[in-house]
Every structure is written in C-alpha cells, then in structure tokens.
C-alpha cells in the first residue's frame, strides 16, 4: 500500500540553526500539507500546498518557515532559524484531491519527524 515517508525520523539541532524536514508524498497525490504536534498538545495545521504554491497557512507559519517541492517527488519544510518552541513532531500529509472536493479527499499522514531544538 502506498505511504507517505518522512526523513529524518529524529532531528536534533541547536537554537538558531536551519533545518530542512523532508517528505515523499504518495506518488499520484497533488495536495500536500504540514502539521505539527508539540508534546502533549493537539496536532496543528501549518500549511497546505498545491501546484507549487501555498494554498493556506496558519499563524504559526511565519517568515521563518518555508515549503518547497524541489522535484517531482519531495516536499520539504524549512525552518530558517530554529527556536526552542519549534521542538515538536512534524507530520507531512498528502491527498489526491482537496478536502473540499468531497472525493478522494482523505489526507494520508507520514510517520513524522521529531525535531528537538536545544
């Protein structure tokens, strides 16, 4: 069964450093998302991406964050200058169609990357 993959599974970085989290969505999916879950809190939406553009972003997704689809398979989340409060589990998700289409709209999640900022 096709699945979303994410690398690395765990990333440790120093405050102020840049990190890039990588995701390979399911191959025929066109809509991509990043969510995060701070330990003990709910899963929060960060950004959605379609046709090489950001469709929607939350207030968490400030200028320190960026997303990119550098080739036909990868989808990346970059944090330019990490802060302690960026420590969280980051989930990538993809869907065949947008949720609003009502068809094939299930979002498939990857296993997550645990980011620890020291």
């Amino acid at each position: 069964e096709p699945e979303v993959t994410q690398t690395p599974s765990h990333q440790v970085t120093q405050m102020g450093q840049e990190v890039i989290l990588r995701c390979v969505p399911i191959s025929n999916h066109l809509y991509f998302y990043w969510y995060r879950q701070i330990l003990g809190q709910k899963v929060e939406f960060l950004v959605s991406f379609y046709n090489n553009e950001i469709s929607e972003k939350s207030e968490i997704f400030d200028d320190q964050f960026s997303v990119e689809r550098p080739d036909g398979s990868n989808f990346t989340l970059k944090i330019r200058s990490t802060k302690l409060e960026d420590s969280a589990m980051y989930f990538c998700a993809s869907s065949e169609a947008p949720l609003t289409s009502g068809v094939g709209d299930e979002q498939f999640f990857g296993p997550g990357t645990r980011l620890t900022v020291l």
């Binding site: 979303v4 299930e106 979002q107 999640f109 296993p111 997550g112």
Partner: protein, 111 residues
C-alpha cells in the same frame, strides 16, 4: 483555540464491548468531520468521516454519529479489539483544506 474538543483524555474498555469516543465542536461552519487513529511513532491514520449533511456513517466495526444541534459527534467501535488500543483524534474541516484536530483520547482495550 478550542474549536474541537475531546474532553476525555483516556478510555478503558473490555474486549468485545463497545467503545464510545466523544468530540464537541464550537464552529457551526465546519462541514466535514473525520476520525484518525494514531499509534506511537506513527502518523495519524484515517478511520472514518462524515459530512455535515448526514447524521450517521458506518464502516465495519466503526460508526460515527453527528448531532449538529448539539455540535457533538461520537465514534462507536463495536466490538472493541485489543488492536484498537491507540490515540483517537477527532478532526473538523472549516470549509478549507486544513484540518482542525482535537487533543485526542487514548483508548485502551483490555482482554
């Protein structure tokens, strides 16, 4: 921001019995609701969904009920199995493609 609330952080149920997980929401503009299951060290896995124009959707052992007037939905699992032990998240869609999640309920099914 408490638009989607799961007030029970944990639930313990005997194998073979019914598990009922509850979720409340505050935004009447939500038009689609989903339940996800999450095992440790894995991402959320889609279970079942329901449109706001329906009040029930069933898929095998899983049934979701929606009460729009009460802004409440529930997930019923019957019969419960030990493999169902996981964290269950309720999520809602606010007319866009993002999902708003609840805090989750940890279900433990014991023999």
């Amino acid at each position: 921001d408490q638009q989607v609330k799961q007030n029970s952080p944990s639930l313990s149920v005997q194998e073979g019995r019914i598990s009922i997980l509850n979720c409340d929401y505050t935004n009447s503009m939500f038009d689609y609701f989903l339940w996800y299951k999450k095992y440790p060290a894995e991402g959320p896995t889609f279970l079942i969904s329901i449109s706001s124009i329906k009040d029930k959707n069933e898929d095998g052992r899983f049934t979701v009920f929606l009460n729009k007037s009460a802004k409440h939905l529930s997930l019923h699992i019957v019969p419960s199995q030990p493999g169902d032990s996981a964290v269950y998240f309720c999520a809602a869609r606010p007319l866009t493609d993002k999902l708003i999640f609840g805090t989750g309920t940890r279900l433990q099914v014991f023999p």
